[in-house]
């Protein structure tokens, strides 16, 4: 029973990571950049929910507002900070993303101060299955992340825009020649990625109602790790990686001796997986044409 409970915990932690990783993976796939500021969009989403909740009191309105605000933020940042650098070295974009990350964090501290805020969203209590007690929000997180992944997969596979996204990620130049507006596609990707981050912020708050300006940093890195483990650029891969990291985290925290080393263990697993499969579990293997 203990094991089952740990696994379910792991799944729910992993669900949140997966949601962030989905955003990472999409932005990476299309814009080919490591968006280090992605984790901080979660934080912005969290604060949006906090502000809206204080005004209205409805969590779902907060979620909607957060999604909207983060999309606008994501698109604005993309337009102002990343778009001028299209065609420049990817390292330059990486550094800008880091700058954006610092900027978001310090702005949040200036506006909201240094003390952590608490937002109680929904108190749904537990569901009992035999002797197993599971919190509702764990279940909801899990379901939501699966649904989001499903929608994204379908979107990419079956809509015109989605296929255009795949085309841009394969070859930006060629896609442009085919009449696809790559810039619009990249902007859209940032919007979707940011919306996912806002959702992740919502679910993180649901599990743990604490808000601070650095709340997104570590989950961001962990989710990035998850995206790489799953094979960066792959949507099911991000999901798989997220869940894997979540379960490892839950199991590791459960064993007292190794609990302090949890982060190290997660990163070690990343290294081992990459050494065995250099492009991640579900990543496409690229053979270099000579």
């Amino acid at each position: 029973m203990e094991i089952l409970e740990t696994l379910i915990n792991g799944l729910s932690i992993g669900g949140t990571y997966a949601m962030i990783a989905l955003g990472y993976t999409m932005v990476y796939g299309i814009a080919k950049m490591l968006n280090f500021a992605h984790g901080d969009v979660i934080m912005v989403g969290g604060y949006t929910i906090y502000v809206v909740m204080a005004q209205t009191g409805y969590p779902l309105i907060g979620l909607a507002a957060a999604i909207l605000f983060c999309m606008i933020l994501g698109v604005t940042v993309e337009k102002l900070a990343y778009k001028p650098l299209r065609g420049a070295s990817p390292l330059a974009v990486l550094i800008t993303a880091i700058g954006v990350s610092y900027l978001l964090q310090s702005t949040a501290q200036m506006i909201f101060g240094s003390s952590p805020k608490m937002v109680t969203l929904l108190d749904l209590g537990n569901v009992k299955l035999g002797s197993l007690k599971i919190q509702w929000n764990v279940i909801i997180t899990l379901i939501a992340s699966f649904v989001i992944m499903l929608i994204l997969t379908l979107f990419v596979k079956y809509t015109r825009t989605g296929r255009a996204m795949v085309a841009v990620s394969e070859d930006k130049g060629a896609a442009q020649l085919m009449g696809i507006n790559s810039n619009a596609i990249i902007t859209l990707t940032f919007a979707i990625g940011s919306a996912l981050a806002a959702c992740a912020g919502f679910f993180m708050l649901m599990k743990s109602p604490s808000l601070s300006n650095t709340m997104g940093a570590m989950p961001g890195i962990k989710a990035f790790t998850a995206a790489v483990i799953g094979g960066i650029g792959s949507i099911p891969g991000a999901m798989l990686g997220g869940i894997l990291i979540g379960i490892v985290e839950a199991v590791s925290y459960k064993i007292t001796v190794i609990a302090p080393y949890t982060d190290a263990i997660e990163f070690l697993i990343l290294i081992i997986i990459l050494l065995v499969k250099p492009s991640g579990i579900l990543g496409k293997k690229r053979r270099e044409k000579v």
């Binding site: 203990e2 409970e5 740990t6 915990n9 792991g10 729910s12 932690i13 906090y50 310090s106 501290q109 101060g113 240094s114 003390s115 952590p116 805020k117 608490m118 937002v119 109680t120 108190d123 209590g125 537990n126 007690k133 919190q135 764990v138 993180m204 599990k207 743990s208 109602p209 604490s210 601070s212 650095t214 709340m215 570590m218 962990k222 985290e249 839950a250 925290y253 459960k254 007292t256 609990a259 302090p260 949890t262 982060d263």
Partner: protein, 386 residues
């Protein structure tokens, strides 16, 4: 290439000129006629809430003292610098403040940076009284004093309290990469009766928000010792309120203080009993503590109200009281007294049976090595729901 050489030379010249200009201020003659109290704390970053509380309270105390005529007619001034809880930034802050004319200090807000501060200030013989750097090693040098309880001290007292409760099994929930939490935990374990079985669960700064795994480890314990700060504690309680038995008792140390006023956290929704061992209770309704709470909340809001601030408030008053006492004893203390002279003067006062009454204790004294001696009170923050 030659352009690069010029660029390099220009850059180097710039560096030289900046260095030449650097610190050209002469601290001794910086005579604005104030006594300068230095402080280094996390004003930004994850620990900012503590640093900001200390800075606010210290400045509030200084303002009150100045409005009241100052220390023997001389105004006092707080120099607050930011170390972002990073010891590597302390030396810059320290020498910056020395350059600005710091005469006496509140040290650092958090323990790890404070250990760096100790060594630096010991070299120059600068007196400091830290409000909250609670590590056992902080008062090692004879210029260093603490206003808060040392971690090991707290751990020992907490263990004695628990030993007397007659429990057979307790849970411990602590933060493994935090020296405050670890320090208390180690002394607690060392002093705990051997017959008591312990279940331990840890978290780290990388995982400070989701405690589902830890909760399921601890859920069979009816008494949980939590030597952690109130933010993670309130999160733990929120997430655990349905899983833990209603008769569970949470027992924290001074880090717990502020938990009932944490924004967005409603302690009444927690069915379990919450207690703490502390020198300050931010729900106090009488005495100096209540007075402080009212003034602080009025000025800065309840957002950053916690024992860190209260302790810093006391520190400033204690330093001023000590200086005034030195003057009574015939010493000269004014805006031009050097830090080293002031340190010797203050050490004499603090070693000479100096007693101070403040927000965090009615009769506060310091022992030879600089540890504080005052009453630790076990507060019941919230009774269990019947």
């Amino acid at each position: 290439m030659s352009k690069k050489i010029i660029a390099l030379v220009l850059a180097m010249l710039m560096v030289v000129s900046i260095f030449a200009a650097c610190g050209s201020k002469d601290p001794a003659t910086d005579g604005e006629g104030t006594i300068k109290i230095g402080l280094s704390g996390p004003l930004t970053g994850a620990a900012a809430v503590y640093g900001v509380a200390v800075k606010n309270a210290a400045e509030m105390a200084a303002e009150e003292i100045n409005a009241d005529g100052g220390m023997n007619g001389i105004n006092i001034e707080i120099l607050a610098t930011d170390d972002a809880h990073d010891p590597a930034k302390v030396s810059t802050n320290y020498y910056n403040m020395v350059g600005e004319g710091m005469q006496v200090s509140l040290g650092c807000v958090t323990s790890n940076p404070c250990l760096e501060f100790c060594k630096l200030s010991a070299e120059d013989n600068v007196f400091f009284l830290t409000p909250s750097a609670s590590n056992d090693d902080v008062p090692a040098a004879d210029n260093a004093y603490q206003m808060c309880f040392a971690d090991g001290n707290q751990g020992g007292v907490a263990a004695n309290t628990v030993n007397n409760l007659g429990l057979t099994k307790i849970g411990i929930f602590y933060k493994s990469d935090d020296s405050y939490s670890n320090g208390i935990y180690e002394q607690f374990k060392a002093n705990l009766n051997e017959g008591i079985e312990t279940v331990e669960a840890v978290f780290t700064s990388a995982n400070e928000t989701d405690f589902s795994t830890q909760i399921s480890s601890l859920k069979d314990c009816e008494f949980i010792f939590m030597p952690i700060y109130y933010t993670p504690a309130s999160l733990f309680m929120t997430q655990a309120k349905d899983t833990m038995a209603a008769n569970t008792v949470y027992f924290g140390c001074d880090g717990f203080d502020g938990i009932e006023s944490a924004e967005g956290f409603d302690i009444t929704t927690i069915p379990q009993k919450v207690t703490m061992l502390s020198h300050f209770n931010s729900k106090a309704t009488e005495g100096m503590a209540a007075d402080f709470i009212a003034k602080y909340t009025d000025k800065y809001g309840a957002d950053t109200l916690n024992q860190f601030g209260a302790s810093a408030y006391d520190c400033v008053y204690a330093l001023v009281a000590a200086m005034e006492k030195a003057i009574e004893n015939g010493k000269t203390v004014d805006a031009s007294t050097s830090a080293s002279d002031l340190c010797d003067i203050l050490k004499e006062v603090f070693q000479g049976g100096f007693t101070f009454a403040g927000v965090t204790g009615e009769s506060i004294t310091w022992d030879e090595s600089g540890y504080v001696a005052k009453d630790a009170i076990q507060y019941v923050i919230k009774e269990a729901n019947a």
